[in-house]
């Protein structure tokens, strides 16, 4: 396992944390904001993209049945694109999460340092 993470999993000192203080720390607030700035738009995007798919396939048959790419229609390619979008967003998240992990690690070191 990655060392940075396995260290962060160790209890600092159970139940004696000043949670409010950590929460108000600037670095922590930046972490939460950075995460939110990725997760919120990404979630809205995939939900909109998915429901757009359901609505178009259900309510716009002329478009859904149109053939593109030889004999394959829009409906099937749209479905297939959901898989691609899911994988892409997932890859993007994992890439960004490396940054979240590094930020969390810095805060953890600060928290631990403050206690020593």
């Amino acid at each position: 396992m990655d060392d940075a993470v396995s260290r962060s999993e160790r209890p600092v000192t159970a139940a004696t944390q000043d949670w409010q203080a950590i929460e108000q720390d600037n670095d922590f607030r930046t972490l939460v904001r950075t995460k939110r700035n990725f997760i919120l738009p990404a979630t809205v995007f995939f939900l909109v993209y998915y429901f757009a798919f359901l609505i178009i396939v259900g309510y716009v048959p002329e478009f859904a049945n149109a053939s593109v790419l030889g004999n394959i229609n829009v409906a099937y390619l749209f479905a297939l694109s959901q898989f691609i979008v899911t994988w892409l967003l997932m890859g993007l998240y994992v890439w960004r999460a490396g940054k979240f992990d590094a930020m969390a690690q810095r805060i953890l070191e600060k928290v631990r340092g403050g206690q020593a």
């Binding site: 396995s6 139940a15 922590f28 997760i39 979630t43 396939v57 049945n65 409906a75 969390a104």
Partner: protein
């Protein structure tokens, strides 16, 4: 050797392998963490395979193949929804859950909310989802095994499946359950891949030729809700579509809306399925939880794309008119492209699939009772390792016996709506509570309980009055296909999600806003910090 003997032999091989794994796991099981969470030592790829194993139930493998074989494109819509759902799991649930919880969904909730009431309601919801899902799997298993191996009758098949799943859980705990999932996932992926290749070989491995063939398969339905009989509609006029065009299953006034309702339940419901959530406690930390979702999504995605070849392949190479039972599309396709040995292999894969999923459900249900109700509600949080493991095992046996009993009782009923219901209940009752407790400071105990009960009760009530249960069948319809209540449906959609999911969220939010709960508000800091940093996460 007869076809039936070959299949039976393959089943036997699966049973022996899984029991060996269970014996091996039983020697490594001591603490409650071993029992519920496999000692939190499962790796990312392993857990990814296990999540995939827990998720790709017989409903996915046999059900979707059958739906595509019968209704073409519309069946494939399930595949899409089942996969996209993993973005909800990855973005909102997996890592915070691992960071704040211990064994169950209720752990995450009881953090900042009042333990006893929250755990009781969450455990009820978990047990409801688990049992609904379980009965769907068991009834399917009974009829499937009975068709594949006629000498094993329905009742005997149910009892064998039930006893095996109890053995895995009671003797091997989460470690055995995890490895059963992994074995099953590998077999299922391998079998599906091979089957797809064999199908494509009939088209000289040309995707274009394959789709060309699909474009020549057609299906028909009647407008105005009429029933098609010998090419004539009882009411309305017949509509013909090719198998690649949407609408053969979802059409009419409410068809598209039903599809959206189902889509909503699928895409949110996965993040509330107790047996999937529990898997994230089996890994050492949040980062491994993340990588296991990624592995699972890659595997599940490949599998669901391959359902194209399974489903359309069955429509092309077996033919809808030769498939008596929708669930048999994939096994029949296996026989037509690979002969009796391959049929036996695919049947055994389906059998392993069922065994693994019911074992995962059993352990999720037993943890909800033993960890939430027994230890934290009845015993007031005083843990006693040996006692808790014992209670969990007894609960697993009870859940197993209840499921066997219900499956025997419902053998001739039409239970196809149950998997959809399980997703709808999970999405309406569990997901609002999990998401709001993790991300909304103002959320409180009253809101959680009201929201969860509203989601649970409304989704169940709506399905009872929906066309999935209510409807008038023409005389002579077999019981296994007939509506349970012979009266016109009061609610137009088969899936309640479109109403019950927003309702679950709305009630949770409104009740939270109307009540004051300073403790819940203050404790949000702890949830927030722990969810994001993993301080004090369970080891």
């Amino acid at each position: 050797m007869t076809k039936e003997m070959q299949t039976l032999l393959m089943f036997g091989v699966i049973v022996v392998i899984t029991l060996v794994v269970t014996y091996w796991a039983s020697r490594r099981m001591r603490t409650t963490t071993d029992f519920y969470a496999a000692g939190r030592r499962i790796g990312g790829l392993q857990n990814g395979l296990a999540v995939a194993g827990d998720y790709m139930s017989a409903a996915s493998f046999l059900g979707i193949a059958g739906l595509i074989a019968f209704f073409g494109y519309d069946g494939f819509m399930y595949s899409v929804g089942f996969l996209v759902a993993y973005l909800t799991v990855l973005f909102l649930v997996a890592e915070p859950l691992r960071n704040t919880g211990k064994f169950t969904m209720a752990d995450v909730l009881s953090f900042r909310l009042r333990q006893r009431s929250v755990r009781t309601v969450a455990a009820i919801s978990t047990l409801a989802v688990t049992l609904i899902y379980m009965i769907a799997q068991m009834v399917g298993a009974g009829s499937l095994v009975n068709i594949l191996v006629p000498t094993l009758d329905y009742n005997l098949a149910i009892i064998i499946v039930g006893v095996l799943m109890i053995c895995y859980v009671v003797f091997g705990g989460m470690l055995a359950t995890t490895w059963v999932q992994i074995i099953k996932a590998v077999l299922l992926m391998g079998g599906t891949f091979l089957l797809s290749l064999l199908v494509l070989s009939h088209y000289n491995f040309s995707i274009s030729a394959f789709f060309d063939a699909i474009n020549h398969v057609t299906g028909q339905y009647c407008t105005a809700g009429g029933v098609l009989k010998n090419g004539q509609c009882t009411v309305g006029v017949p509509v013909t579509k090719t198998f690649l065009q949407p609408g053969l299953k979802y059409h009419g006034t409410f068809g598209q809306l039903d599809l959206i309702s189902l889509g909503l339940a699928l895409v949110l419901g996965t993040a509330g399925l107790p047996h999937i959530l529990m898997r994230f406690y089996t890994v050492p930390n949040a980062r491994t939880a993340r990588s296991s979702v990624v592995w699972a999504t890659v595997l599940i995605g490949i599998f669901y794309i391959l359902t194209t070849f399974l489903g359309f392949g069955a429509a092309l190479l077996v033919g809808k008119e030769h498939i008596k039972n929708q669930n048999l599309a994939a096994p029949l396709l296996a026989e037509s492209v690979g002969g009796p040995i391959f049929l036996a292999f695919i049947a055994a894969v389906a059998f392993a699939t069922i065994l693994a999923v019911v074992a995962g459900l059993t352990i999720a249900g037993s943890s909800a009772f033993a960890h939430d109700i027994w230890v934290n509600v009845i015993k007031g949080g005083k843990e006693n390792e040996r006692e808790q493991v014992l209670v969990a095992k007894v609960t697993a046996v009870v859940i197993g016996l209840v499921s066997i009993g219900l499956a025997l009782l419902l053998r001739n009923s039409n239970v196809a709506f149950l998997v959809g219901l399980a997703f709808a209940v999970a999405a309406s009752a569990n997901v609002p509570a999990i998401v709001l407790t993790l991300f909304w400071r103002r959320f409180n105990t009253a809101g959680m309980i009201a929201g969860m009960l509203a989601g649970l009760i409304s989704s169940i009530l709506l399905i009872v009055v929906s066309p999935a249960i209510m409807g008038i069948d023409p005389p002579g319809t077999p019981a296994s296909a007939a509506h349970l209540i012979q009266a016109p449906a009061l609610f137009p959609l088969e899936n309640p999600g479109l109403i019950s999911i927003p309702l679950g969220f709305l009630v949770a939010i409104v009740v939270s806003l109307l009540t004051r709960d300073a403790a819940a508000r203050e404790a949000f800091s702890e949830t927030n910090v722990r969810a994001n940093l993993g301080i004090n996460a369970e080891e």
